[in-house]
Symmetry: C7
Subunit: 263 residues, 7 copies
Amino acid sequence: MQGQAQQQAYDRGITIFSPDGRLYQVEYAREAVKRGTASIGVRTADGVVLAADKQSRSPLMEPESVEKLHKVDDHIGIASAGHVADARQLIDFARRQAQVNRLRYGEAMGIETLTKTVTDHIQQYTQVGGARPFGVALIIGGVEDGEPRLFETDPSGTPYEWKALSIGANRTDVREYLEEGYDEELSLDAGIELALGALAETGDDDEGLTPQGVGLATIDADDPEYHDHDAASVEGYLDEFDLLASGDEAGSDDGGDDQSGEQ
Amino acid sequence: MQGQAQQQAYDRGITIFSPDGRLYQVEYAREAVKRGTASIGVRTADGVVLAADKQSRSPLMEPESVEKLHKVDDHIGIASAGHVADARQLIDFARRQAQVNRLRYGEAMGIETLTKTVTDHIQQYTQVGGARPFGVALIIGGVEDGEPRLFETDPSGTPYEWKALSIGANRTDVREYLEEGYDEELSLDAGIELALGALAETGDDDEGLTPQGVGLATIDADDPEYHDHDAASVEGYLDEFDLLASGDEAGSDDGGDDQSGEQ
Amino acid sequence: MQGQAQQQAYDRGITIFSPDGRLYQVEYAREAVKRGTASIGVRTADGVVLAADKQSRSPLMEPESVEKLHKVDDHIGIASAGHVADARQLIDFARRQAQVNRLRYGEAMGIETLTKTVTDHIQQYTQVGGARPFGVALIIGGVEDGEPRLFETDPSGTPYEWKALSIGANRTDVREYLEEGYDEELSLDAGIELALGALAETGDDDEGLTPQGVGLATIDADDPEYHDHDAASVEGYLDEFDLLASGDEAGSDDGGDDQSGEQ
Amino acid sequence: MQGQAQQQAYDRGITIFSPDGRLYQVEYAREAVKRGTASIGVRTADGVVLAADKQSRSPLMEPESVEKLHKVDDHIGIASAGHVADARQLIDFARRQAQVNRLRYGEAMGIETLTKTVTDHIQQYTQVGGARPFGVALIIGGVEDGEPRLFETDPSGTPYEWKALSIGANRTDVREYLEEGYDEELSLDAGIELALGALAETGDDDEGLTPQGVGLATIDADDPEYHDHDAASVEGYLDEFDLLASGDEAGSDDGGDDQSGEQ
Amino acid sequence: MQGQAQQQAYDRGITIFSPDGRLYQVEYAREAVKRGTASIGVRTADGVVLAADKQSRSPLMEPESVEKLHKVDDHIGIASAGHVADARQLIDFARRQAQVNRLRYGEAMGIETLTKTVTDHIQQYTQVGGARPFGVALIIGGVEDGEPRLFETDPSGTPYEWKALSIGANRTDVREYLEEGYDEELSLDAGIELALGALAETGDDDEGLTPQGVGLATIDADDPEYHDHDAASVEGYLDEFDLLASGDEAGSDDGGDDQSGEQ
Amino acid sequence: MQGQAQQQAYDRGITIFSPDGRLYQVEYAREAVKRGTASIGVRTADGVVLAADKQSRSPLMEPESVEKLHKVDDHIGIASAGHVADARQLIDFARRQAQVNRLRYGEAMGIETLTKTVTDHIQQYTQVGGARPFGVALIIGGVEDGEPRLFETDPSGTPYEWKALSIGANRTDVREYLEEGYDEELSLDAGIELALGALAETGDDDEGLTPQGVGLATIDADDPEYHDHDAASVEGYLDEFDLLASGDEAGSDDGGDDQSGEQ
Amino acid sequence: MQGQAQQQAYDRGITIFSPDGRLYQVEYAREAVKRGTASIGVRTADGVVLAADKQSRSPLMEPESVEKLHKVDDHIGIASAGHVADARQLIDFARRQAQVNRLRYGEAMGIETLTKTVTDHIQQYTQVGGARPFGVALIIGGVEDGEPRLFETDPSGTPYEWKALSIGANRTDVREYLEEGYDEELSLDAGIELALGALAETGDDDEGLTPQGVGLATIDADDPEYHDHDAASVEGYLDEFDLLASGDEAGSDDGGDDQSGEQ
C-alpha cells in the first residue's frame, strides 16, 4: 500500500491504475457500500433467506420507502447495500435481463447466469472513462432447478458464490457471526434465525430489532416463489428468536442526517 | 469525513468518489436545495397538502412568477425547492411522462411510478460525465386508487415516501415541527394547518405569513383533482389558524439580491 | 459564502457546484449582464414599455448599430443587456420559436410560453459541459389576449414575471426608482415617463438624455403592434418629461474603449 | 478589472467567464487584431472607401501577397486586420454566403445581413468549447439599394455599423483623426483623402506612404461595383493629397521578423 | 529508470510514454496481475496441464466461485491471474472468437491464432485513450493438430509461447522451480506433479495443498478434450505426490480482506 | 512579448491565445521548421528554381531517401523544410487536390489556388482542438498560363507569394543573400546560380556543396514540366558556379543523431 | 535543447510542440525502440538480409515466441525493434496492405510504396490526440523488379532508405560497424556475414552468438522469396564466420525481468 500523498495521485479516475496495481475509484465505491445499512443472505438446504436493516431515518418516512429487498423474478430476489440510486439502476437491469430470458428462451433465468450478466455490466463502468463505478453491492439469491443459490456482486464487477454473507455496514463482524452459526443442513427457519441474528449484530448495542426496521424475504426450494414477509411475520420470528426490541422508539434513528443517498 | 484540503480533491466532478465513498458534487447540489425557500408536503387520510414559501423578492415581481407548486397531471402536484431552472426541467420531464402514460396505457400514472421515473432520470446525471447533478429537490404528491401518496426526490436520484416532509431552507427545524404535529388520522384541513404552521416556522421570526407569500395546493382523496388555492382561500386559512401576518409589508423581502436562481 | 481562494476552486466550469451549492460560472455571467448598459421594462394597464440606454461609444458609430431593442413578433419585443453576440443568438432563437408557433398553430405565441421556451434553452447551457452560459439578460414584453405581460430571463435560465424592472448597469438603483414610481393603473404615457425617468437614473449625473442615446418601444394593449419610436418621438417625450439633455455632446461617451462586446 | 494573478486563472478557455464577467480569450483575440496592420473604412454620401496598410515585410515578397482587401461580391468588399489565416476563413465564409444568397433569392445580399451572418458564425467560436475565437476583425463595406453601408465585426461576434473606422494597429489614434475629419457629406474623393490620411497616421513618423504599400478599394453608390485601385491610381491620389513618401525605400520594413501570421 | 518524482509525471494515462520509453500504466496493470493468486501451465509431450491456487477467502464462500480455470472450447482452456472482472471480459472474448471460428471455418481454432486475437484486443486498450489496460494475465493452453501448445498474454498485449510458466503471485520463485523440474519428455502425470509442486511453492510455508484450494485441468494430446479435475481427483494427485496438507483448516485464508477484486 | 513564466501559461494548446494575442503552439511549430535543413525557391522570368540541402546523415543512407523536393503535378513542384512526416501529409494532400482539379475541370490547377487550398487545410489544425499544427513549411512553385509563380505556406496557414525565398535553417542569412542577388530579369540559369549560392550560405563554412547533397528542380516557363536534376546535372552547375566542395567527405554529416524526424 | 524542468512541461501529449519545436512524446517512443533488442538489415547486390537478436529471456520460453522477423508478403520481410504489441499492429497493417494491393492491382506491392503507407499510418498517431505514437521501429526489406530495397520506419512516421542499418539496442555502435564493413558489391553471403557480425557487436562482450538466439531471413534478388533460416542454417553461418558462442548457456539471459513488453 502506498502512503496517502501518493495514493491521492492515482485515485481520480477509473482509467488509472496505481503503481501497486489498484483501482482506487473502485475501492472508494466499496466505501459507499459500507456506508449503507447491512443486508444478509443465507443459503439453506430448503431455500434462500434475504434479510436487511431497513430502519427509516425518521418516523415520518414510510418504512416501505427504504428499499433494500427487491423481487427480480418469481424465483429471484436481490438485497442491496450502498448508493440507493445506483442500486435501482442495477435492479432494473437485472429485471429486464430476467424478463428477456423468459421471452427469448421460454424459461426462468439461472441465478448464476443473471449474476454474471450483472457483473459484466458493472465491469464496463470500471474500465471505460466518462463515468464512475456503481457504488453498490448486491446479494442475488434464488432457486434454480430446485437448488438454492446465493451470489454477491461488488463494485469491481466480480461475482462470488456464498453459503451466507453480509454486505454493507459492519461486514467483518457479521461475517464472523455467520461463520460460527452456519451449517449446510440448516432448515429454512434456522436460516431465518441466523440471518436475523446476524442483522441484530449490526446494531450499535443489544437493543434488538423492530419489525418495521427489518426486511425479510425467503425463496423456498420446493416452491420457488419470492416471499416478502410482512411486519407481523417478522415480529413473529423476532419474538420466537428473542430478538425483539423491548422499547418502541428503537425503530427510528432520530438524530443525524435523514438524507444521505445510501441505504 | 475528510479534512477540507482532502475533500477539495474529490469534489470536482460527478464521476469521482472520495476515499470515504461520497459523491461530493451530489452533496453540493443538496446545498443548492437548501438555498431555496421551503416547500412542505403533508399526507392526510383525506388527501395530500402541498405548501410553499413563495414570497417574491420585490413588490414589482409578480407573485405568480415564483413557481414553487406545479400541476403535473389532474391527480398529481409537485412542490420544488432549489435551482429554479433545474426544477423546470424535471417538472417538464414529469409532465411528459404522465402524458405518455395516459396515451400508452389509457390510465393515470401512479405516483410511485412517476417518482421513480424521475429519480432514474436524475441518477443518470450523477454517474455519467459531462454534466452536473440537478440542484433541486421535489415533493411529488397525488392520489392513486383513492389513496394519498407523498414522495421526495433528491439530487442523488433516491426516491423516499413520506407522511409529511419539508425540503429547502430550514429543513431540520421544520422536520421537528412536523414530527410533533403529525397524526395519520389528520383531516385535510388539519393537514393544511400543519403545513402552514410548518411554513411559518421557516420565517426568521414570528411575523406570520401573508396570503401572497404562500402557495397552497391540495388533492382530495375522494375527488382527486389538483386544486391550487388562491390568495383569498389562503388568507382564510391563515386567519383561521392565526398565522396571518399583522403588517402588510412583511410580504416582500425588500433587501438583498433579487436574482439568485434559487427558490 | 466561501473565501476567495476556495471560490476559485469551483468556478472553472458550469458542471461544478461549489460546496455551498452555487454555480459560479452562472453568477459570473450575471456580471457580464451588469457590464451592459441598462434596459427598462414597464407594464401598464394600457400596454408595455421598453426603454434602453443606447448611447453609442463614438460619434462615428451609427446609433442604430447599438441593438438593445428587438422586435420578435408583431406583438412581442425584447430588450437586452449584456454580451451582444449572445443576445443576438437568443433573439434569433426567440424569433424562430415565434414563427414556428404561428406556422404550427396558426396563432400568435403567448408571452409566457415564449419566455419559458427561451429559459429552457438557456438552462441547457448551464448543465451540460462543453459550452458556457449566455452572458445576457432579456426583458420580454408583449400583449397576449389583450393583456400586457413583462418577463425577464437571466443567465441561469430562470423566468420571472415583473410589473416593472431594469436589467444591466445600476440595476439596484433603478429598481428603487421603479418601486417608488410604479402604480398598476399607470397609463401608457405615464409608463413611458417612468421608464425614461428610470433610464435617466442610470447616467452618471443629472445631465439628462439625448434622443439619439435612448431606445424606446411600446406595445399598446388595444392595438398590439410593436412600435419602435424614432428620435423625434423620443425627443418629444424627453422634452415633455423634462429629461432632455441641455448640451448636445452628452450623447457620446467619447472616452474609453469603443469595443467591449457588451451593451 | 482583476489583478494579474487572478486574471490568469480565467483566461485559459473560451467557455469560462471571469468573476467580473469577461471572456478573456475573446479579449486576447482582440490583441491579435491589434498586432495586424491598419485597415480603414470610410462611408461617404457617394460610396464606400476601404484602405489598408499593405507594406510587405521584404522586397522579395510580392505586394499582392499581402491580402488586406478582398472582393466578396460585386457590391461588397472586406478589409481585414489580424491573423491572416483566420481572415481567409471568414472571407471564404462571407463569399459563400453571398453566392448562396444570389442563388437562392436571385438578388444581391444585403450588407447588414451578410455582416450578421458572419458575426453569428464568429459567436459560435466563443461559446462552444474545442476551438478558439477568430483572431481577426473585418470591415465589411458595400452599397445596398443605392445606399453605402459600412460594418465592423470583432472577435466577440458583435456587429457594429460605422460612418468611418479603423481596425488593427493604432486604432485609437486613427479614430481621433477620423472623428476630426469626418463629415456626412464627404464626396467619394474626399473620403479617399480621409482614408489615406488616416492610414498615414498609422506610420511611425511622417514618412508618407508608397503606392505599393497601400491598398485602396472603392464602391461607388451610383455604380456599385467593387473597384480595386492599382498602384498608379493610388500614386495619383497620394500625390494629389501630398501623402507620397519622398524616398523609395520606405516601402519595405526591412528589419524584424518577416513571418508573423498577422497583417 | 527514473526517480520516483519523475516517474509520477508520466504514469497518469496509457497515452503517455515516459522519457525512458516506458508505459507506466501497463506496468502498473502487471502489478494487478501479481496481486492475484498463482496459476501454472505445463506443456508435456502428452498434453497440457493447467493448475491454479483457488483457495477461497472464507469458509462460507463457495470454492467454485473462485474462477481461475476456464474452458474456452473443447480443446482449449485458460488459466487467469489478476483482476477477476477483467479476466471475465477476456475469457468471454476468447470464447466468442473460438465459436465464430468454428461457425465460419467449420473447424477448431488454433491455439496460437486465438492467443494473438486476444493480445491484439488487449493492445488496443494500451494505445487509445479513454480506457485502462486489462489488469490480468492469461495462460492459454490447448492441443492443435495433436500438438500441445501453451501461451501467455500479458497486459501489454504481447503473446509468448512457453514450455511451462506461472502467472500471478510469486512468479519469480515458481519460475525457478519450473526451470529446475522441467523436461520436454514429461508424461502428463509428471506434468501434473510439476504443476502441483510449483503451486505448493507459492504458499507461505510448507503446509501443503488442500483439494478444495487447487484447480486442475488437463487436455490430453491424444483425446483433446478439456478435462476439469474434481476435488477427489485432485486429492488423489496431492496424496500421490505427497503435497496434501495435513490439517483441514489450511484451506481458508481466514484473515484479511475477503473482497479485493483480484484472484 | 511576455516573460518566460507567463509565456509557458499560454503555450499548451492551439486553442489558447496568449494575453498579447499570440498562438504559441503555432510559433513553436515554426521552430520545427527551423530545425529542418534549408530549401530555396527562386522565381525568374524564364521559370521557377527549387533547391534543397539534402545531405544524408550517414553514408549508408540512400540520398534519395532525403525527400526535400516533390513533384506534385506536371507543372508544380514543392520544396519542404521541417517535420518530414508532416510534410508528407501535406504533399499528399496537394497531389490529391491537383489530381481532383484535373478530373473535375479538365485543366491544370493554378499555383495560387493550390497554395490557398493547402493553407486553408493547415489553418484548420490551428483553430480546432484535438490535434497539433503542421511542423513544416512549403515552397510551392510552378508555371501557370506561362507565368512562373512561387508561394510559401507556413504553420499558421498563411500564404505568401515571393520572388525568391528560403525556408528552414538559416533563413535570415539566406534572405539577405537572396535580396542582394535577386533581379526580376534573371535567366533560369542565373536563378539556379542564385539558388545554389544561397544554399551554400547555409553550410557551416565555405566547404562548398556536393552533388549528392543538393536537390535541384526547375520548371521552365516555356515548357512547364517539372524537371528533377540528377547528380551529374547538379555537379555541372556546381562546377560552373564554383560551388563544388573540394573534398569528397563533405557529403555526410557523420556525427550526431541520424534520426530526428526533421529535414 | 531545454533544461529538464522545462522539457517536462511539453512532453505530456503528442499534440504539443515544445518551444524549440520538438515532439517529446515521439522522442520518448524512440526510447521504447532502444529498449528493444537489435535488428539488422543489409542490402546487397544479390538480395536483402534481415537478422535479429532473438534470445529468449528464459529457457522455458519457446524461441519461436520471440518475434523479431516477420514475413509480410512472398517478397517482403520486416524486422522490428521495440514494443512488441505495437509491432504486431504495424505488421498486421502491412500484411493487409500487401494483400489488398495484390487483389486490387493483381501484382506484388512495391517496397517503397508499402513503407510509405506504413509511415503515413504512423504519422496519424503523432498529430491527432487521444492516442500515443507507436513505440516501435521497423526494417522493411524486399525485392522489387529484381532490385533489393531496404527501408526504415521510425515512431515519427518518417521513411528512410538504407544500404544497411540497425534498429533497437546499441544502434550507434552497430552503425559504425556497418559503415566500416559495407560495400555495395557484397554478395548475399557476405551480407549475411556483415549482418551477423553486427549482431554480435550488440552483445555485452565477445561471447559470440547461439543459433537459437539469432533470427535470420534473406530474400534473394533472383528468386524473390522470403526465406527464414532455421537454427541449423544459422549455426552453419555462425560457424563459418567464427561467431558461434563457445558455451551452450549463453543462449538465455537468465537474470532480470522476463516480461517487459519490448523485444
